[in-house]
């Protein structure tokens, strides 16, 4: 009877440890989820003031002048380029949902990496899109890369 107590204790300890680990993991995920939600909310406000005039409130674009932001595949395949398009603009034809668009887009150099991360997190999680959030680090890396491309090695 007495010998069983340590075993019981050990089992309890293991269970407790397991529970707290799960709890930690859970709160970590919650924090990530919460941060993403915050980025989406901030991104929506920025989108409305910086992007909506052209791309429209529902991301549907305008005739063949301005492309929609509803092409999830394009957004995913060009994930690394999106930050640079917002910062430096774009002056080359693109195909969205099979339609060619080639009006230039002007960039907005006043937006910070954090603001771009928020806008991109919003765009890639609105208009029928559902993708991972953009972190400031990811956006900063992308911006550093395209600045190198622009100024040359």
């Amino acid at each position: 009877m007495m010998r069983r107590i340590p075993a019981l204790l050990a089992t309890l300890v293991i269970i407790a440890a397991g529970l707290s680990a799960a709890g930690l993991l859970g709160s970590c995920q919650n924090e990530q989820e919460l941060l993403k939600k915050k980025y989406i909310a901030e991104g929506m406000v920025l989108y409305r003031s910086q992007c909506q005039n052209c791309h429209q409130i529902d991301g549907t674009g305008f005739e063949k002048l301005i492309p929609p932001l509803t092409d999830t595949l394009y957004l995913r395949q060009n994930r690394d380029r999106l930050a640079c398009i917002i910062r430096y603009g774009m002056d080359e034809p693109i195909v969205i949902h099979g339609q060619l668009y080639d009006q230039p887009m002007i960039g907005n150099q006043r937006l910070t990496a954090m603001e771009i991360a928020e806008i991109l997190t919003y765009i890639t999680n609105a208009f029928g899109n559902k993708q991972e959030m953009f972190t400031i680090e990811e956006v900063q890396r992308a911006l550093d890369r395209c600045r190198q491309e622009q100024t040359g090695p």
Partner: protein
């Protein structure tokens, strides 16, 4: 007292807009010359459109037109204005009595081919909707003095220019008959209601001319 004036104002507005024989006022500066009132007219102009065709006052000698000022790379109010203008265009598409005249305020960038591409991407006909370019100073002076729309270059503004978002309804006698906010759907709805009033007036004038 203010409320009374406001009520009177509303009463006048309702009085003017109601009824079948509604007419549009002549807007702008006016001068009394003897017993006649002389109204402001759109000054002479000559600009090139997206098909490299000259557009002048004579282009609109027997029709009304809606004018605005924009530039193709404008990120601020132009897309909103163009969306609204497209609504007006679609409401009167193919109607020979009404045309559209969009002036670029960025002639350095908005060359004829750029305007041509823009019109094509907007999906509109060159016959009815002219996108025109001309010397910067001429366009700006016409905007300010004839159409009463502000246009100026400002490197701090998004896209580099500041301009008014008005739509101006001009009749066949070069008189301004309506000024609308091209960024406000309600104001543009008013324009859509006003155009037929002007067309009817012009038709009646045409009939009386032929019967004289």
């Amino acid at each position: 007292m203010k409320q009374v004036i406001a009520l009177l104002g509303i009463g006048l507005l309702v009085g003017c807009s109601g009824g079948k024989d509604r007419t549009l006022p002549i807007l702008g500066r006016q001068e009394i010359q003897g017993s006649d009132t002389v109204y402001q007219q759109i000054a002479d102009f000559r600009f090139m459109n997206q098909d490299s065709v000259w557009v002048t006052n004579q282009t609109f000698s027997n029709k009304a037109y809606v004018a605005d000022f924009f530039f193709t790379s404008c990120p601020s109010i132009c897309p909103i204005m163009k969306k609204q203008m497209l609504r007006v265009y679609k409401a009167f598409e193919g109607n020979p009595g009404i045309s559209f005249l969009s002036h670029t305020i960025d002639p350095r960038h908005d060359s004829v081919p750029v305007l041509k591409k823009y019109a094509a991407d907007l999906g509109v006909s060159s016959e009815q909707w002219h996108f025109v370019t001309g010397p910067r100073e001429t366009v700006y002076a016409l905007a300010e003095n004839s159409y009463m729309v502000a246009a100026l270059e400002d490197e701090n503004a998004p896209g580099g220019f500041i301009h008014g978002g008005h739509f101006i309804l001009v009749d066949e006698n070069r008189h301004i008959r309506g000024i609308y906010d091209g960024t406000e759907e309600a104001s543009v709805n008013q324009l859509i209601r006003d155009i037929p009033v002007l067309l009817k007036e012009s038709e009646a004038a045409g009939n009386s001319k032929t019967s004289e």
